[in-house]
């Protein structure tokens, strides 16, 4: 468990982090979200001990990162924004070096590394020079080094940047797999990724925490309501009147009318979710309005994000 309390980091007169506090619980996957320059990497650097905060505390499993650095760092595996790779070493040499550094006991080290290498799918290139690898493979080596020693907490700063879609999916699978036994903190720009993998998300903006919550709750809090989109063949006004009669529907609005297809935006009371949708369906059916498209318009994480960071 990581407790971060009132973290402040100043660079001269510039305050990069202005008092961030949150907790990461054991076994959860926490997403770190924020625009460029919000202070995500700085915060991660402070948590892992690379930078020192100007004030505030970071406690990893009860160990303060400044007071008991070695104890705290033992539990953390970190992939920074720029993977720290020695280009003149082979993958295996590098990982062996990192395992020595992280004090992995000599017995069983080989098997441990073999396991990690296969987990990150580096088996084919384990004897190649890191400098000769493609960006994707390099990224994987970076992830591999974060996994050495089986740390309880894994912190990944933009792990899928520069990877092709196939690789991104694989990494996502890997993170989900790791999440079963580890605490993971993940920072990313790719909102869909965070949406797909994380339990909770911390949104950081201009050095401060803008929001901490699960995604669904966030979305819900933001909108206060659920929105639905229906595209059908029929008259919008009639549909709107019919819909307003349905219990649980608070509002209905036309969005687009084109090619004979009308799009309506319906606002419903989320508490009555399932029933309301069924009622809306039947309403259209009764009126012989064929439904072309019927989906939820809940704010995506993107909308939440933009809303929060711009608001």
């Amino acid at each position: 468990m990581i407790e971060i309390n009132n973290l402040v980091k100043c660079y001269g007169k510039n305050k990069a982090v202005k008092g961030i506090s949150f907790t990461v619980n054991d076994g959860e996957v926490l997403g770190f979200l924020g625009p460029n320059g919000a202070g995500k990497s700085t915060t991660m650097n402070i948590i892992t001990g690379y930078l020192s905060s100007t004030s505030g505390t970071v406690k990893v499993n009860g160990h303060d990162i400044l007071e008991e650095p070695e104890e705290a760092k033992k539990n953390i595996g970190y992939l920074p924004e720029l993977p720290p790779l020695f280009l003149d070493m082979t993958v295996l040499e590098y990982l062996t070096f990192m395992s020595e550094l992280k004090k992995v006991p000599k017995q069983g080290r080989k098997e441990h590394l073999a396991k990690i290498i296969s987990m990150v799918k580096l088996t084919d290139v384990s004897d190649r020079l890191i400098g000769n690898l493609s960006k994707g493979y390099k990224q994987r080596v970076g992830i591999a080094q974060a996994l050495i020693g089986d740390p309880a907490i894994i912190i990944l700063d933009e792990p899928t940047v520069g990877l092709d879609p196939q690789q991104v999916i694989e990494i996502r699978k890997l993170i989900k797999f790791l999440a079963k036994n580890h605490t993971v903190i993940l920072s990313s720009h790719i909102l869909s990724e965070i949406q797909a993998v994380c339990d909770r998300v911390v949104i950081i903006n201009k050095g401060k925490v803008a929001a901490i919550d699960t995604i669904t709750d966030l979305a819900a809090k933001l909108s206060g309501n659920s929105k639905l989109l229906v595209a059908f063949k029929g008259q919008d006004k009639a549909a709107i009147n019919a819909l307003k009669a349905v219990p649980g529907v608070t509002d209905a609005r036309t969005r687009i009318v084109s090619d004979g297809i009308t799009e309506l935006e319906i606002v419903i009371d989320p508490k009555k979710g399932g029933d309301v949708r069924s009622s809306i369906f039947y309403t259209f059916a009764r009126n012989n309005w064929p439904i072309m498209e019927f989906r939820s318009l809940d704010p995506t994480l993107e909308e939440v994000f933009l809303n929060i960071t711009n608001g």
Binding site: G49, S52, Y78, P84, L85, F86, M89, L101, K102
Partner: protein, 256 residues
Amino acid sequence: MTAIYKREFFSYFRSPIGYVALALFTFLSSYWFSMYLFNRGAINLAQEIKAIRNYLILIVPIITMALFSEDKKRGTEVIYYTSPISLFNVVCGKFLAAMTLFAIMFVNIIIHMIITVNLGGIVNVGTWGSVIVYFFFAALFISIGTFASAITDSQLISAIVCFVILYVINMLTSIAGMVATGVQSLLSIFTDDPEKIRKVCDAVQNAILWLDPFSKTNDFVYGKFSIAPLVFCFSGTVVFIYLTYRVLEKKRWSQA
């Protein structure tokens, strides 16, 4: 610490740098050795080793310039800060790796010693005195190089800083003289008493001269061992290693 030591040491041999440094040292020391062989019919290895000390000024910056600056530039220094090791161990590991490279260079001298003995020459106390001084000097210079490498991320600047510091140390005798003259002219503005001026100048000059490790260790070549100069070199090494550690640790409080 062993992990870092091993990595640095082998990295010297993964790129041409280690080989080039070894080749350079071999060339220089063998050149001196052959000069003795051909011209004099007598080989005083102590002199050869003493001459090599001057070449250290060139070789040490080359070897130590990449120790820390490369990590800064490459972004791998984060490893040292986020792994459960102390920064002091990191500094010591790198320092020892460079020292080991110098120890390997020293094999050349051992080859020369074997040749000398086989030819009927002698390897006497003066020679061993030189050897001891060589290692203490190497330690001092390498610690300076390590420090120079930690204060910047450019290998070039690091090499230049190291070279300048070593060169200044080499020139301390002349510098002492110049400073004394400078102080003298400065003081003559304030006072007319030549005795006083001379006393102060002498004191200043002696103070600076005291810092010169070269003059302190001259007598070792003649077989006269004193512990004080060795203590001096060793404590200098400790100071620079500690300075390097503090520079690395700057990240803890730096507001820049």
